[in-house]
Symmetry: D3
Subunit: 249 residues, 6 copies
C-alpha cells in the first residue's frame, strides 16, 4: 500500500520529520511518500497561511502523477481535507481528527496540547466541524512563540508537559493528543510523567488510512464530497503557473 503523507508546510526538514513519524508507525507493507506544497509558509501559524496551505496541499496531490492508495493530510487542524476529498476517491485522513478518533477509542476524554495559543482556535474549530469535540476536555496551548521554541526546545518541552499535566489534573483528560509535530521524545516523556496514552496524529492517521484501505472503503461521492463539475479554473493548478523566482512582498 502506498500512502501520501502531505506536509502543509513548505519546510523540507519538517517534511522529513513527518516522514519519519509516518514510517515509524506504518505497517510493514506500507510505503510512505512524503510531499510538501510548492508554495506557502515554511511553518503554518494562522488561518490565512492555513488556507494557502490547503490550496498548496490540494495542488500538490492533484499534480502528483504516481499511483497511491490514500492520503494523510499532515497539518494539525489545518484546512483542506474536504476539498481534497472532492477531488480524489482514495481515503483522506487529517491528523488532528485522526488523533481525536484514536483518543476516543482508548479513553473517555482527551485534551489537545499545542503551541501557540492561536492554534488552539483552529483545533477547536476543526474538532467542532468534524463532530469530534464532545469528548474533548480541553485544547490547551503554551504561550510560547515559535521563536522561543526554536531558541530553547527544552523549555518548550517542559511547557508542553506542563500543559499536559494541567489537562490531566484539572480538565480530567485521560488521553493527550499532541498538536505539535516533531519533538523527539515528547510522547515518551509525557507518558512517563503523567501515565496517560499520548497520541501523535501522524501515526494515527497512517494506521487509520491503512484500516480504511483494508476495508475497501473510499470517500463517499453522493453528497458533500462528490467530484466538482469539470471546468476551466483560472490559474489552476497554481504550481504550473507560478514563477517562484518572481517578486515577493
Amino acid at each position: 500500500m502506498r500512502v501520501l503523507v502531505v506536509n502543509v508546510n513548505t519546510s523540507a526538514s519538517m517534511t522529513a520529520t513527518i516522514a519519519r513519524a509516518a514510517r515509524r508507525n506504518a505497517s510493514a507493507g506500507t510505503e510512505i511518500v512524503a510531499l510538501q506544497p510548492a508554495f506557502g509558509a515554511e511553518g503554518v501559524d494562522c488561518a490565512f497561511e492555513s488556507y494557502l496551505a490547503a490550496v498548496g496541499v490540494i495542488d500538490r496531490v492533484v499534480t502528483y502523477r504516481e499511483r497511491y492508495d490514500a492520503v494523510v493530510l499532515a497539518g494539525f487542524g489545518e484546512h483542506g481535507r474536504d476539498g481534497l476529498q472532492e477531488l480524489i476517491d482514495a481515503p483522506v485522513v487529517e491528523i488532528c481528527e485522526a488523533a481525536a478518533h484514536a483518543a476516543m477509542m482508548v479513553g473517555r476524554t482527551y485534551s489537545v496540547v499545542t503551541t501557540p495559543r492561536r492554534s488552539a482556535a483552529a483545533v477547536e474549530d476543526r474538532l467542532r466541524l468534524a463532530g469530534l469535540d464532545q469528548r474533548c476536555a480541553s485544547v490547551r496551548a503554551t504561550d510560547l512563540g515559535t521563536a522561543e521554541i526554536d531558541r530553547d526546545p527544552v523549555l518548550a518541552m517542559e511547557a508542553i508537559i506542563g500543559e499536559a499535566r494541567l489537562a490531566v489534573e484539572e480538565d480530567h483528560a485521560e488521553v493527550i493528543c499532541l498538536g505539535c509535530a516533531g519533538m523527539a521524545g515528547l510522547e515518551e516523556a509525557i507518558t512517563e510523567s503523567l501515565g496517560v496514552p499520548v497520541i501523535d496524529g501522524v501515526g494515527a492517521a497512517v494506521r487509520f488510512v491503512e484500516a480504511l484501505v483494508g476495508l475497501n472503503l473510499r470517500t463517499s461521492k453522493v453528497g458533500a464530497y462528490a467530484p466538482p463539475e469539470r471546468k476551466e479554473i483560472m490559474g489552476w493548478p497554481l504550481s504550473h503557473h507560478l514563477q517562484l523566482g518572481g517578486p515577493h512582498r
Copy 2:
C-alpha cells in the same frame, strides 16, 4: 465610507451583479468598490474551489492599494473570512453570516435556500462555526445543477420559491435567507408569495459593516485574528507570481 465588496468568483458579470446589489442597499454616503480575485473558478461550487477563492480574495484585498473602511466577503458560506480578519484591521463581514444575523433580528427562526444541494453543506458548516445555527430551521437546496439554472431561470426561480415555501410551511421558518446571488426579482416574488421577510446577504453585509464602522469597531486583535508574524511566504502574493497565460490542466 468606502467598502470593498469582494466577489469570490472570477466572473466579471457576477461581480457587476453583486456591485449593483451592494449599491442598491448601501447608505447614501457609502462608496462601493467591487473586486474579484485574479485567479480561481468563474463560479465557486465546491469546497476545493472555495479554498482557492479564499486565497484569491485575501490576495485581492492585500494587494489593493487604496484606502477602505470595511470589507464584505461576497461568497455565500465560502471560506476565508477569518484569514482576512487576521491580515487587516477593518471590519470584515461575510454575507451568509450577515443574512443570519439580520434574520435573527426580524424573526424567531430562519431558513436558507440555496442551489445546488452540495452548497447546503457549506452553508451549514459556516453557520455552525459562526455559532449562528441554533435558530436556523433548515438549509434547503433545489436539486438543480448550474447548467439547468442557466438554461431555464424561470424554472430555477420556481424551484427556489418552492423550497422557500417548504421552509415556511414544514420547517416553520419565519424568514428566508437567499443563498444564491443575483436573481432579479426573486426577493419580491418570495415575499409576495409567502409573506415572509427575505434577506439578501450582500445588502445585509453592507449595512452591517456601515454599522460597525459607525460604532468605531474594528476586528479584535488579541486572539484568533491577531496579525500573523511577519515572514517570507513562498509565492505570496500569488497574483504577483502567476503567469496566467501559462499551461492549464
Copy 3:
C-alpha cells in the same frame, strides 16, 4: 429615521443617559426619542422587576401616538422583546442581543461583563434563547451591590475592568460586551487597558435598527410574532387605568 429607545427602568436620569448613548452612536439622519415606562422599578434588578418592565415597555410603546421607524429595547437582557414584536411591525432590537451580534462580527468569542451576579443569569438566558450563546466565552459579574456601586463608582469601574481582564485572560474572550449602562469612560478604559473592542449595547442596537430600516426589513408576521387576535384585555393598557397616587406597598 425616528427610533424609539425605551428604557426599561423608570428612572428619568437613566433614560437621559441612555438617550445620550443612543444619540452619540446614531447616524446623522436618525432622530432618537427616549421613553420610559409609566410604572415599574427605578432600576430593574431581578426577574420579577424585568417582567414588570416588559409590560411597562410594551405599554409605553403601544400608547405612543407619533410615527416611528424602529424600537430599541434598552434593558440589558430584560424580557419583552418578543411581546413587542407581536404588537408592532417596525423592527425591535434588544441591546444585549445587539451587543452579541456586533461582538460576533469583530471577534471569535466575546464575554459579557455585568453587575450584579444575579444579572448574569438573565443575560445567559437571553443569549441562550436568542441562539447567540455559542461564541459567548463567559458572562461575568462583579459581586458589588447597587448600593456599593452608587457609593463608590471608581471602585465599581475597577471591579468591572477586573472582570473584563479575567474574561480576556482566562476565558479567552476577544471582545467585551458591557452589560451595565452609563458609566462614562468605561469603554475607553477597558480598551486602553486590555486592547480589546468594547461594545455598548445601546449604540449597537441603534445602528442595527438603522440597518434593518435601511434594508426595508420588518418583523416577520407568519409565526411567533404574528399579531395577536384583537380582544378586550382587562386593565389594558395599564397606564390608562393606574391611579399612581394610590396606595403603595
Copy 4:
C-alpha cells in the same frame, strides 16, 4: 398542605376547570386554592399576553394574605415562574415543566401537543430554558384558532388526537403531554387510541409540589432566585392601583 393553583388567564370558568383538575389529582391531605389575576387576557394566547399574565400572577400571589405551602403556575409554558420564585420561599412549579419532568420519568421521549401553532414556540422556549428539551421529540400544534375550538370541540379533540398520533408514529414520542387545559375526556381518549401515557400538567405539578413540600425543599435563595432588594416600585402592586372600570382600548 395548602397549594395555590394560579390560572394565568382571567377567565373564571377556566380557573374552575383548572381547580377541578388540581383537586382530582391531589393527595388526600392537600387543599387546593384556585386563584386568577385581577387583570390581563381572558385567555392568554401570545407572548405579550403572557408577560402581562406573569405580572398578574405575581401580583395575585404577593397580595394573597393567607398561609400556603406551595404554588402551581397554571399556564402551559407561560412566563413568570422565576419572578415568583424570587419573591416567595415556597416551591413554585410551572405546569409545562411539570409535565416534562413526569414524562421523562415514564418514557424515553415525549411530545407536547398544543393549540394553536404559535403556542408551540412558547412551549419550546420554556423547555429549552428549563433544560428539559433534550428528550422532547416534538412540540406539535393543531392549526385551529381559538374560535374554531370553541365552535366545535369535537373537531378540536379529533385534531389534537391526530397530532398526538403523528407524535407517536412519526416523532417516536412515548409519552404525550397535553398543552391545552380542560378538555374533559381527552386524556382517556388519547391513551385508548394510542396506548401511551398522557400527562396533564396541572395534576403533575400538584403532585410534584406535594413531593417538594414533603421533602422540606424550598426554592434556593443563593443565586438567581434570591429575594430582590426591598424598594419602592411605582404602581406596585398593580391591583391596588388599577381602576378597572376606567377607559379600555
Copy 5:
C-alpha cells in the same frame, strides 16, 4: 402504596441505611420494602460492578413475588433503570435522576457531589443520557478512596462539604445533590454551612414514585421500554442458577 427500594450493593448494612432514608422521606401511607441483589459487589465502585449490579437488581425485582406499586433504583447513577422498565409496568425511578429533577424544581442550577473521582464519570453519563445535564453546573468528587472514607468519616464529610462549597462559589450551583448515600447529618451540615437546598436522591425518588402512582402513570410501553419478546434465556434468572458457595476468583 408499596414501594420497592432496591439497593445496588450487596451490603446489608447499606440496604438498611437506604431503607431508613426512604422511610424518613416517604408519605404516611407508603410502605417501603428494601431489597438487595443476590450477587455482586458489596459496594459498587465502577462500571463493571455497575453492570453486574444492574443485572442483580433486575434479577431481584423479577424474582420478587409480592405485590408492589413502584420501584426506586437506589444506586446513584448506576445502570439498569431502562432494563427494569422493560420488564415491569410499575414506575421505576433512579435516585440520581430523581435528585436532578428535584434540584431543577428548586434552583436554576445544581451540582452533584460524590466520591470518588471515577464516580463522577458515571454520574455525568447518567445525566447526559437522561437529558438532565443542561442545568448541571458541575459534578464534583472528593479524591478520597473508599478506604479513607471508612477510616475517617469526619474527614470525608469535611471533604464533601468542601466540594459543595466550591460548587456553590465557583460553579454557581444553587442546589447540591448528594451522590453518596448514608452519611448521617451531611445534608443538614451543608445547608447550614452554605445556605443551599441539599437533595438526597433516595428521598426524592420515593416522593416522585408516589407522585407517579398518584397520577396513575405507568411506564410507556410503545417504544424503548416495550416488553421484550418472551424467550428462554440461558441461566436466567441468575439467582436461581447460582451456587454461591462455589469457587470464587
Copy 6:
C-alpha cells in the same frame, strides 16, 4: 496479533457468522478468536438482555486464559465496553462506535440502519454517550420483528435497503452503517443500489484494534477506566457459579 471477537449473543451460529466477518476483514497477520458468553439471550433484543450480555461478555473475557492483544465487542450498540476497559489493558473497540468512526472518515454524514425499531434507541444512546452522534444523520429501523426476518430474509433485506435509501435521499446520509450482523450480500446490495459506502462494524472494529495495537496504544488507566480496587465480589465470575442445568423460569 491475536484479537478476541466477543459475540454478545449466546447463539453459536451467530458467533460463527461474526467470526467469518472478522476474518474476512482482518489483516494477514491477525488471528481471530471468536467467543460468546456462557449465559444470556440467544439474540439480544432489548436493554435488559443487553445488560445481561455485558456481564456475560465481561465474564467470558476475564475467564479467558490465553494471551490476546485486543478485544472487539461484537454487539451493535450493546452495553459493557467501559466495564471491560476497566478490567483489562488491551484495547477494546465496540462495533457500533467503530462503524461511526469509519463512517466519519469517509463521509460528512452517516446513518445507521438496524432492525427492529427498539434497537434504534440503544444505538442512539450509544452514539450520544460516545460523543459520535453529531454527524449521524439518522438511526433508522425496519419495523420487522425477528420472527418475520427469520421467515423471510429476502423481505428483510429489501426492507433494510429501503431504509438505507430513505437515509440517503431524505436524511442526506453519505455513508450507511449496518446495525444488523450477518446478512450475506447486504453490503454489496446497498452499495450497488445506492452508490454509498457501507460499513460493517465488525470489520471496522477489527481493523481499528489492529491500528491501536500497531500504535502501541492501550486503554488509559488514569480516569474512568482505571482498574477497580481488588475485592471479593459475590458470585463472580458468574460462569464459575452457575449451574446451567438448573431451574429455568
